[in-house]
């Protein structure tokens, strides 16, 4: 309701203000130009988020101090806490960082944003920055029209900075002239009544502009023109800090539970900081006076004193909240629990994780991992395996007759419950992702899409295999029973080998080691096919049994091979280092088939199996 009413009301008030006062026009134009500059700046930094920023974020968020430092430095450099918050939510949604790390980044970003107040108070309001704005705008536009993503990005940053400077200039000019016609300072309210009133005004202004930076510039320029009192300016700054959480909250609406928790942490942090600052405002003012004296700042330089206040109260919040991060994480996890649904839903795919190439790949990889794990569970149930006591291993159930183990254990039902929705979401997500056509990212996403298709194929083949397992595992013919048990063993052994490769943690070498597994799978198919034709020739099994068995050997081969292929992709994409080289040396079907003949098998065979001599050197 309020969303429908608020914009026209704001527009009406603005129209009235612009109608009656030309000076108000200048101030509003300044705010509008400033906000547009922020948008342009974000657009520019987005052009550089294709890898560097993400890689840095992944590396530096190992502990809370590093996360805090990352939030502080990145916000100070980019002068936008909103972009840093959105990146943190995206990374958390994609499962790249922990909630504690995300909270650390948000805390750091809050402190980093205070550098903006220092820059504006110390530089923006003291020199004629419009002079710097003009060349920035010109060079910015020239760069924007250049081909190449990085040039465009740099152009947007330069153009954005130019607009920020121009916006500040107009706001400053507007307030300077405005004071000649209307003395806004007359409306200042002293005492706690004023603090609360201006705190509220600060929140409203920031919610409307969705930028605490813009509110702060407005406060600083008004303060410089003596249009608001110092005390009221402090309250407005606190209000701006609370109001800024609206960006994170809005961006978390479409995020998963993890993203919502982070937005919640942002809100709690800013609320606690604001409450403390309001309660201790007069003590903090004394502290600011003392700090200003130590830093050699004049007692009447209220804009710089406001910058000190802004830094101190954010620092106070961090000092108080940092030791409680773990409690905050636990509380938020309880407050916003993971949804338990009858049908498994995607956990990592969201509009937030689609924001950046790295988060998109990570989200798809994590979902593919879930699909893979679910497929392994389904296939193991399908071939009648039982989990060991500790749940980490499994063994084949000797009494398995191929029948579903109970209601809800049919492969179709399990597929519909655990895989179908996630698989469909992955396919849609990859198709919708804007950057899916860029080289490296595109290749990784395509491999993951293929891996998903291979996993689903493996489940379908298991379903086909299950029909004859039901038929022949209870047959009176011991040969056919034994053959079908061999098929089960083949699949179980493949899964075991895949688990071992995943446990090794030797990067792309694990991925390459699965080529040997694929060779074993091919060999096993050839051996079993030979044995089956012999069984038919010796009339140990009927030709009907034989034809079914040959088909099922092919299904078993495909199940094992598809699982090995998808596991290779999952290991490879997780270990991005050396991936391109590893994919180059990985062997295809023909190369695998001819590899032993052309390389070592004969020589090693003589050396190790016949003579047992263990002295020969490998060429």
């Amino acid at each position: 309701m309020s969303r429908k009413i608020l914009p026209p009301v704001i527009l009406l008030i603005l129209t009235y203000g612009l109608w009656i006062s030309p000076d108000f026009n200048t101030i509003c134009a300044g705010v509008a130009i400033f906000l547009f500059g922020m948008l342009s700046l974000e657009e520019g930094f987005n052009a550089f988020t294709g890898g560097t920023l993400e890689r840095l974020l992944k590396r530096v968020t190992s502990n809370r101090w590093n996360s805090l430092g990352f939030g502080l430095i990145s916000t100070a450099l980019m002068q936008t806490s909103s972009l840093v918050s959105v990146i943190a939510i995206s990374f958390l949604s994609a499962g790249l960082i922990t909630l504690a790390a995300g909270i650390g980044i948000i805390f750091g970003a809050n402190l980093g944003t205070t550098t903006g107040a220092w820059l504006i108070a110390g530089f923006g309001l003291k020199v004629d920055i419009a002079r710097y704005a003009m060349p920035m705008l010109v060079f910015g536009i020239v760069l924007i029209f250049q081909p190449g993503k990085k040039f465009k990005g740099a152009g947007y940053i330069l153009f954005g900075l130019g607009l920020l400077f121009l916006g500040i200039h107009y706001m400053k000019e507007g307030f300077d002239v405005f004071k000649d016609s209307i003395e806004l300072a007359r409306f200042s309210v002293s005492g706690y009544r004023g603090v609360l009133l201006f705190l509220f005004l600060g929140i409203i202004a920031t919610v409307i502009m969705q930028s605490s930076h813009a509110t702060l510039v407005l406060i600083l320029t008004a303060l410089a023109a003596q249009q608001i009192s110092y005390e009221n300016a402090l309250a407005l700054a606190i209000g701006a800090n609370v109001g800024t959480t609206i960006t994170a909250i809005l961006s978390s609406l479409s995020a998963n539970e993890a993203g919502k928790r982070l937005a919640g942490a942002h809100l709690i942090f800013n609320m606690v900081t604001a409450s403390l600052s309001v309660a201790l405002i007069y003590r903090l003012v004394e502290l600011v006076d003392y700090a200003a004296l130590q830093l050699g700042i004049a007692a009447n330089d209220y804009t710089l004193k406001l910058a000190i206040f802004h830094s101190i109260f954010n620092l106070l919040g961090i000092v108080i909240m940092l030791p409680f991060i773990n409690y905050l994480v636990t509380g938020l996890e309880r407050l916003i629990p993971e949804k338990t649904l009858k049908v498994d839903q995607p956990k990592y795919l969201s509009t937030e994780s689609a924001e950046f190439p790295e988060t998109a790949i990570e989200a798809v990889k994590n979902e593919t991992r879930r699909v893979f794990d679910a497929a392994i569970d389904i296939i193991l149930i399908g071939i009648g395996s039982v989990k060991t006591g500790d749940g980490t291993g499994f063994h084949l159930d000797d009494s398995f007759t191929g029948q579903p183990l109970g209601e809800g254990f049919s492969i179709d039902e399990m597929y519909a419950k655990r895989i179908k929705t996630i698989y469909s979401a992955i396919v849609a997500f990859i198709s919708d992702t804007e950057f899916s056509r860029r080289d490296e990212q595109s290749a990784n996403l395509q491999w993951l899409r293929e891996a998903n298709m291979q996993i689903v194929e493996a489940i379908k083949d298991t379903k086909h295999l299950q029909k004859n397992l039901q038929r022949y595992l209870v047959s009176s013919n011991t040969f056919i029973r034994k053959a079908y048990n061999q098929l089960r063993e083949q699949i179980a052994s493949t899964i075991q080998d895949i688990h071992e490769a995943q446990r090794e943690k030797d990067g792309v070498m694990d991925m390459l080691s699965l080529d040997a597994l694929k060779h074993f799978i091919d060999e096993s198919r050839d051996t079993m096919t030979k044995e089956t034709t012999q069984l038919i020739a010796l009339r140990k099994i009927s030709p009907q049994m034989g034809s079914s068995l040959l088909n099922d050997i092919a299904y078993t081969h495909d199940i094992s091979l598809n699982l090995a292929l998808s596991a290779q992709t999952l290991i490879g994409v997780a270990e991005r280092e050396l991936l391109q080289a590893a994919r180059t040396v990985s062997l295809d079907n023909n190369e695998r088939a001819s590899a032993p003949a052309q390389t070592l098998s004969t020589r090693i065979g003589e050396r190790y199996t016949n003579s047992g001599a263990k002295t020969g050197e490998h060429p």
């Binding site: 074993f520 040396v585 062997l587 390389t599 070592l600 098998s601 090693i604 263990k614 490998h618």
Partner: protein, 81 residues
Amino acid sequence: MNIRQQIRKLQVLLDGSRRERKTHQDEMKTLLHKMKLKERRLLEEARTELDEDKLARLRTEIDMLHAQRLKGIKALKELNE
């Protein structure tokens, strides 16, 4: 380092496709080194392995790794041309 080498380095730095090829070359060299070490390790294991089944498996692993290495060496030569 003479001027010609400096110019070559600068060319690699400025040319996008050359830079990419250089990265690929470096990655391939690192991977080949890792593979060589692993092949040696597997050969050592094979020397002390007495179980016939495990030995056969190790042999296949060594064969595959060797074939991968040969493929990598060939790819590296092509990249160097």
